[in-house]
Symmetry: C2
Subunit: 118 residues, 2 copies
Amino acid sequence: MPAMARAATTADAFNAVAEPRRREILDALAGGERAVNDLVRLLGLAQPQVSKHLRVLREVGAVDVRDEGRQRLYRLNGHALRPIHDWVKNYERSWSERFERLDVVLEELKQKKEGNGS
Amino acid sequence: MPAMARAATTADAFNAVAEPRRREILDALAGGERAVNDLVRLLGLAQPQVSKHLRVLREVGAVDVRDEGRQRLYRLNGHALRPIHDWVKNYERSWSERFERLDVVLEELKQKKEGNGS
DNA sequence: TTGACATATGCTCATATGGGTATACGATGC
DNA sequence: GCATCGTATACCCATATGAGCATATGTCAA
């Protein structure tokens, strides 16, 4: 068991998506399939960097590839992001007015119940 | 400008939360304020590790601290997670049936419009 | 075949990680 | 004052990162 410094970026979607450039790539792919050079132009990154980021995204299943002649067309696969969504969703109550109001109501119910004595 | 290898874990919530133990800590704090040793017991980690993780979470604003005698009570501050929620929310359509059905409707509308000729 | 294009991989470098262990700091109680 | 509890920090280590640059691989065109 080698002492792991930091989980690999390919360990899961959380790690893959921690890199801002990779989020940008996903955002770009949200508009539809793109070839690598497309992304290079869109993001203003060097081609090798883009390819490497795409590899990471591929390994966590956030993108799929398709060969089209000389080009490799990447497409988004949002399912990989679901665990992130599911996790963070539980914290929505921290900022959502909707939940804040709900909390108020629940608090009132609780007080009332205590007032009645069980 | 030193060549940064990987963004600091304290760079933003995305990076802070990429570490599973830190997510566990936040999940534990969702139940309410906790002292460090509480978390040590709950997570089964060494105390210094917990303190370090808490430091990272503090630096990205995901937790707040309060001194109570010898203890330091940490409490969740979910607001820091909002950017994550907002970002990932846009990908919900990838797996949500709700959105899939919406897409079907939109597609039908589009077809109809094309049929009518502009 | 030769060459241009599109993409992936290899390598080096500086960096910061997270675990482990020891220790410093601060508050409390005797 | 002194021991003890609760927590933070310092240090060492192995690891993998992401950028930059060079190069390999694969595909089409002349």
